[in-house]
């Protein structure tokens, strides 16, 4: 397989040093101009004189294993041992923009898909140039050279030259205009389980997360925002803070107050002493009931048509019975285990900002705009992220840190308390749906009409939604259409809901609720007709062979019927280019489900790192189970009520079922795996509860605080 580089991809080798550096960018539709620092910084791979290979990673490593994967892509083509490569976080530069978004961002489960080709091409080009340099040195044809394990061997003489020795000479050569990429059958790294690149440091406690950053002369700070969502700071008397901690510095911000001190503890104690005067703003009366009412009101409006296929009249003629179902999900917090943090140092030669950010370009531009400096003067340094799940796509806290550092005249590390993290998230939006399912005389759904109320994440939360909306917010409806099952008529409308709460992208975004709505409703319909839900799905997936294969693969993980007192539920959902089926077996203890075993089958085209794919499925299911069982952010008097993990519970080791994952290989395009494991587990669990008790779940979480 030879890849012409020519018009599709541009390779640059940056010569003149002892180091071979290669950059590759695939051509894609023109993007916004992005300030480019020196070419050397844009290098995706560099091979140093001592043979060290450094990979510059555009995506943020937040637990999904993307750094390991990038090393694997390079190692495969460059012919090195992955253990010999180093990874550094890439700076903001056009070469590192995610081509699906035209900006540097880690999201949408796109990292593997976006970088699968560029990093292999860069690796192959670097190898090509090292081979050419060796051939030149030996005075032979390049075909007489063989690259393996970081060295070039002369096939005739058996002589060996390590990459490091060749790097300087290679850097003076022209990059190739065409490179051959290995066929899948020749892979020795990809497609096999890889060892976590940064695994040892994480276990030794030496890995540097955002919260761990140390900059000479820095102060450590913490922050409190207006307790009422959307409120502002009127004034604050620093006296009480300084009396308690004499070294404390109080920095008032627009909607928050930050306190700086030599340590986080002193800053926290000083902050607690403050009695800021807050302007609560328009949301002082907001509560969860009002949010529910807004969803109801949205469902009652006209909405926008998202998808319709089939013939309503034909379906009507077939319908014997109709089911009207209404479901609702709450606001959710991301709650990564590492609380939000950023470190900013402002110096004469520019601004340095360190954070586990998922949005490097947006962070740079937002900081530059607020400080009034050119974007090129802001350098973003991405640290490891202690989880994130979408939380660090937001950059407001980085701007706050920059403003605080400017006010203090010193470098500042700002760490949010867990309480602040839960009370001031950009939450997963709440959503409600009304589904009318028409069943024919065999109890088979023939008509599926769904109204979906979700706030539009593209507009400011305080804006009044339009009816009908001018266009459909694609993330609000993702997963509700296309409808995979064969029906005579399907119709989906979307109804923008006005919820004045900051909201954002939460691992699997719209799929997180749409999978639950559709897949739990499906089982309710199947059971209402006395049909086996999995068999009925298979019967309605005749035109979706990949879906059906995944569902069967999951079913095959359960060779025995459930024992007495045990019940199973299954759900199927396609997201981010992957198809995932999951099942869970439970027993009931009173009205509480006890989870015994869960299974997962995934078709992601091919698993580039099967072990990482499995880990993402396991982790995604546990993430989804925490949300399904306990996840709920409630609001009273404009304030978020959950303050710590005792009120925002996560699944614990004790409650985690055994999990088995199987990977279904297909020749489909690469699918994402970071989010696709989350959506199906909530409906699978509610389907199991339905099987056990006959009771559907109409609201999540299953263990609700407020009845």
């Amino acid at each position: 397989m030879t890849r012409p580089i020519g018009r599709r991809a541009m390779l640059r080798a940056i010569g003149g040093g002892a180091c071979l550096t290669v950059a590759c960018s695939l051509a894609w539709p023109p993007r916004k101009a992005s300030a480019a620092p020196g070419d050397r910084l844009n290098a995706m791979i560099s091979v140093a004189g001592d043979g060290t290979v450094t990979v510059s990673a555009p995506p943020t490593e937040m637990g999904q294993g993307v750094h390991t994967l990038l090393v694997g892509l390079v190692a495969e083509e460059l012919e090195i041992d992955p253990a010999d490569a180093r990874v550094q976080a890439a700076p903001v530069a056009p070469a590192f923009e995610n081509r699906y978004y035209g900006t540097m961002v880690t999201g949408g489960s796109t990292s593997a898909i976006a970088w699968f080709e560029p990093f292999r091409i860069a690796g192959a080009a670097a190898r090509h140039m090292l081979v050419a340099a060796a051939a030149e040195r030996w005075g032979i044809d390049p075909t007489g050279c063989e690259a393996a394990a970081g060295r070039i061997r002369n096939r005739t003489s058996g002589d060996i030259l390590p990459y490091g020795v060749l790097a300087a000479a290679a850097s003076r050569l022209q990059p190739p205009t065409e490179v051959g990429l290995k066929p899948r059958s020749a892979w020795r790294v990809l497609g096999r389980p890889m060892r976590r690149h940064e695994g040892p440091q994480k276990l030794a406690g030496s890995a540097v997360f955002g919260i761990d950053l140390q900059v000479p002369g820095m102060l450590v700070g913490t922050i409190r925002h207006s307790p009422v969502i959307g409120g502002n700071l009127r004034s604050v008397d620093p006296g009480p803070a300084v009396r308690r901690v004499p070294s404390a510095q109080v920095v008032p911000l627009e909607d928050a107050v930050a306190v700086l001190a030599p340590s986080f503890w002193e800053a926290s104690r000083a902050l607690e002493a403050l009695q800021p005067d807050w302007d609560p703003g328009p949301n002082a009366g907001l509560d969860s009931a009002a949010i529910g009412a807004s969803l109801d009101a949205a469902l009652g409006r006209r909405g926008a048509l998202v998808a319709e296929h089939g013939d309503a009249a034909q379906a009507d003629a077939e319908i014997l019975k109709r089911l009207d179902l209404r479901f609702e999900v709450p606001l959710l917090a991301h709650a990564p285990l590492e609380p939000l943090s950023a470190t900013v140092s402002i110096g004469p030669d520019g601004v340095d900002a360190w954070a586990p950010t998922q949005s490097q370009t947006a962070a740079r531009d937002a900081i530059a705009a607020r400080l009034g400096v050119p974007p090129a003067a802001v350098r973003i340094h991405t640290t490891l992220a202690g989880g994130s799940f979408g939380r660090n796509l937001q950059v407001a806290h980085m701007v706050e840190t920059a403003l605080t550092a400017r006010a203090a005249g010193r470098p500042v590390k700002l760490i949010w308390s867990r309480e602040e993290d839960l009370r001031h998230d950009f939450y997963r939006p709440p959503a409600a749906t009304a589904i009318t399912i028409g069943l024919d005389r065999d109890g088979r759904p023939v008509s599926w009409q769904q109204r979906l109320a979700v706030p539009d994440l593209r507009r400011a939360p305080a804006e009044i939604p339009a009816d009908p909306p001018a266009s459909v917010d694609p993330t609000a409806v993702e997963g509700a259409a296309p409808f995979p099952y064969d029906v005579s008529h399907h119709r989906l409308t979307w109804h923008d809901a006005g919820i004045p709460v900051p909201m954002g992208w939460w691992r699997s975004v719209g799929h997180s609720y749409n999978a639950w709505f559709v897949e739990h409703a499906f089982d309710i319909a199947a059971r209402a007709s006395g049909r086996d839900p999995v068999a009925l799905r298979l019967a309605m997936l005749a035109n979706r062979p990949r879906h059906a294969a995944v569902l069967r693969a999951d079913r095959d993980l359960w060779p025995q019927p459930p024992a007495a007192g045990r019940f199973r539920g299954t759900a199927l959902h396609a997201s981010f280019g992957s198809i995932v089926a999951q099942s869970v077996e439970i027993s009931m203890q009173g009205d509480r489900p006890v989870l015994h075993r869960a299974t997962c089958a995934i078709d992601c085209g091919m698993a580039l790192d099967p072990d990482a794919t499995r880990a993402q499925m396991e982790g995604g299911m546990i993430f989804g189970l925490s949300a399904a069982l306990y996840g709920e952010i409630t609001v009273r008097n404009g304030r978020v009520q959950q303050q710590n993990f005792d009120q925002y519970r996560l699944l614990s080791l004790r409650d985690t079922p055994e999990i088995d994952v199987t990977i279904v290989d297909s020749d489909a395009d690469l699918g994402g795996v970071g989010e696709a494991g989350v959506p199906p587990i909530a409906p699978a669990l509610c389907n199991a509860i339905l099987a056990a008790t006959g009771r559907p779940t109409f609201r999540l979480p299953i263990h609700r605080r407020n009845g």
Binding site: M62, G63, Q64, G65, P193, R195, R196, E198, G199, P200, K202, L203, A204, G205, S206, A207, V208, F209, I211, D212, Q214, V220, P262, S263, F264, W265, E266, A335, P336, L337, E338, P339, L384, A385, G386, G387, S388, F389, I415, S417, R418, D611, A615, E618, G619, G620, M621, I622, F623, N644, F645, D646, L650, L651, S652, L653, R654, T656, E658, I659
Partner: protein, 148 residues
Amino acid sequence: MQLSVNGALHEIKSSADTPLLWVLRDELGLTGTKYGCGKGICGACTVHLEGSAIPACTVAAADVQGLAIVTIEGLVPAGQIHPVQQAWLDAGVSQCGYCQPGMIMAVAALLRANPNPTDADLANNIGVQCRCGTYPRVIRALRTMVGR
């Protein structure tokens, strides 16, 4: 005030009521011990006090004077790897890794007290929260370690 951390005595300047977690992180620069909740719930800050696992965020520095404190940095001498860490690498346990220092300290303490724990022992003793959901691999790695 003096604290014994990883086998060495340190003169501590932080105020006596400072939680051990913040003395370790902000004064001694031992950032392997993590902050997750500050309320003794998540276990990200787990260290060994006289060999037992405790959350460092809920004990005041003054209350642990004269007691042996071990953090993830001192679990084994530099350059060595603890059997739990090795088992973790082999099973590919960590994802983001943020909870893992606490998780490893909790597991190491459990194994010292009970070298052959059952799954139930794990469930009852490992309360460290992992938002990434590494629990199935924690259990798998431990089963391998104790030869099950």
